[in-house]
Point group: C2
Chain length 245, copies 2
Amino acid sequence: MYLCYMEKETGLFMLPVAIGEGNIERSLPKENIEIAKRLSYFIVENVRTARRCLKKMAPEIDISSLTFYELNEHTPTNEISGYLEPLRRGESMGLMSEAGCPGVADPGAAVVKIAQREGLKIIPLVGPSSILLSLMGSGLNGQLFTFNGYLPVDAHDREKRIRELEALSRKTGGTQIFIETPYRNSKMLESLLKALGGETLLCVAANITTVEEQIITRKVKEWRKLNIMLEKVPTIFLFNSGENS
Amino acid sequence: MYLCYMEKETGLFMLPVAIGEGNIERSLPKENIEIAKRLSYFIVENVRTARRCLKKMAPEIDISSLTFYELNEHTPTNEISGYLEPLRRGESMGLMSEAGCPGVADPGAAVVKIAQREGLKIIPLVGPSSILLSLMGSGLNGQLFTFNGYLPVDAHDREKRIRELEALSRKTGGTQIFIETPYRNSKMLESLLKALGGETLLCVAANITTVEEQIITRKVKEWRKLNIMLEKVPTIFLFNSGENS
């Protein structure tokens, strides 16, 4: 017989956040909401986003009664450990990212690492990951894949890196995944279409989990004919040069 | 204003399946269930698992009225395309894996690839991925990671591969992730403790999303002292030799 975690366990609950205008009922299991309602302490990438997300998850939550610790690129490294004090004294805590799953492509892993070192309980919850959803929808190899984060900003370096990743993909058959800040999407697509071979399968996945979601996989030579402009929206890029289409 | 996908869209819905004895309310957003209830055609890795999962998701579904196409390692490649006939004539379809997210570490990507080639709509839905949940809970680098599927079965080859992946992780700082069939877990752990350096961080993540879930990250030299036996349960292994603990 299954017992809901909140009834029996204390720990650091990793609470995913809906992406963009992604709807809660599409993005989060019901139990996440029940767990969030019982937490008083949160470590979050952005307090404003976290408050809004909690309000959307459960309008009855009294946000003003909650304690938030902000963990992002501005947080001094020596302050992070102190955030876990409530957990150390037996209170459950929530960890939330700006969007998607905490600990993946965000600063959240730093605090999970400390909790692991101290043997504290960590409970990752199910939620939307644009990386994983893009991979699923791409049809590209999901048995071997690498998430690379951001590629270099300089066009020359970026194209060099794309060619390196393409050579690796051709050799191993693995899928290469990466992200870009939305305002550089068009430059990124330009680099990809310039640097990649025509037979390589390229997937562009935009607005994941929203009503505008688009996940399109085509050969690079087909993308070149399309003459498209990518909008300034959250986008994941994936390619594979090691599989036949 | 958000419109539920099922009201407006036709496509190949990628429906995740709860892992092991994982509870539906912890594993799946409510909308997945609403979508599943409206589908008549399913491409599934295992018909028995798929029926049981649908019954658990929505007991009111009349399973006998549904059409299932089985896509697994026994499916002749030239039959896969035919499974998409309902989708081609405008019916929505569901794609389900044995457990977790279809298209990742399962045979489902083959049919998504065909759907992509034909420009058919694909809609991946949120659900449990033991790979992603393990990574979240491990505290290891989530900005750069590779999922490697299975490592070689032969002990010598496996240890060689582990050392290669460790060298790569030391160089790039990326996290290496892989799986093993449950009855080989102990052998895998043995190989890891033998082949990896003492300072490498190793995470063993077992029974993800169930009440017996355990996600533990320690240095290899600490694991060596523990003298543990891994049970025959679904387990993900992750390590990183490129970050300080």
